[in-house]
């Protein structure tokens, strides 16, 4: 997976963790007294007091780790300092170089084909000479 997709999935993960962190805070937080006129709110219904503070700490730690992972992925982005114009210029240069090497390759192929035809012609002549049993004059 490319790094931009990883970054997008990391953003979605951060959103998921932020949502769940706030959700658990709302679910587990003890009731708060809004005014002296109201009666004292009942004690928190969890089995022990430490259980409430553990869950938000764990989720907050996970959220911060996800944010740090996002920063690490941003640091690993292979973005060159050059902008769009430099990229397009580089593409044009590479295209021109590609065309030049293509012409060179075509020239080499044509020369190789020509030499192959010459060798085949020589081979054909040699074969004809052997078949016709021509002998060199060595008087």
């Amino acid at each position: 997976m490319d790094i931009i997709s990883q970054l997008q999935e990391q953003v979605n993960l951060i959103a998921h963790l932020a949502f769940n962190t706030v959700g658990t805070l709302q679910r587990d937080a003890p009731p708060n007294r809004l005014s002296p006129n109201y009666p004292e709110p009942p004690a928190h219904a969890t089995e022990d007091g430490s259980n409430f503070s553990e869950q938000p700490k764990l989720m907050s730690t996970t959220l911060v780790k996800a944010a740090k992972q996002f920063d690490a992925l941003v640091a690993a982005l292979p973005i060159s300092e050059s902008g769009e114009e430099a990229q397009l210029k580089r593409i044009s240069e590479l295209q021109a170089e590609n065309d030049a090497i293509g012409l060179e390759l075509q020239k080499q192929l044509e020369a190789a084909e020509k030499e192959l035809n010459q060798v085949q012609e020589l081979f054909r002549q040699a074969s004809d000479n052997c078949l016709n049993l021509k002998k060199p004059d060595d008087s």
């Binding site: 706030v22 959220l63 996002f70 580089r90």
Partner: protein, 168 residues
Amino acid sequence: MATATYPPPPPYYRLYKDYLQNPKSAPDPPPPIEGTYLCFGANYTTSDVLPTLEEQGVRQLYSKGPNVDFKKELRSLNGELQLHVLELADILIERPSQYARRVEEISTVFKNLHHLLNSLRPHQARATLIHILELQIQRRKQAVEDIKRRREEARRLLNESLATLDGH
């Protein structure tokens, strides 16, 4: 009254009665749509570009302009997001009725983050194209060197053969 099993075609088929003899007698198709249009309630555009945040009705948090420092803006948006989450926790304790604005701020930051990442796609496409071109150039150079080497080898073998024949 039930409809027939094979109902007749729509009445406008008569408009194409003389199409084979005279193609111009039939009505022309509608012209292509330009700009934006609505389709099932969603706004579409005929040009495939990423709409800006203002066009989507979202406030833009990073600097405008052609040359955006993506890394710096992404990091600052990430930090701003963490701050907004902390502020939301504080607001829920002290002023619970004002949570909506904080949630809206967080949503705006997320939209900006995703928009920035999507804006990186054209850069990624150009970088991929550069990489492919470099690979192609490398392969072509290799092919040229390979052909040259084999031509030289063939020429050497031919000269050796000719020398052997002349030796007789």
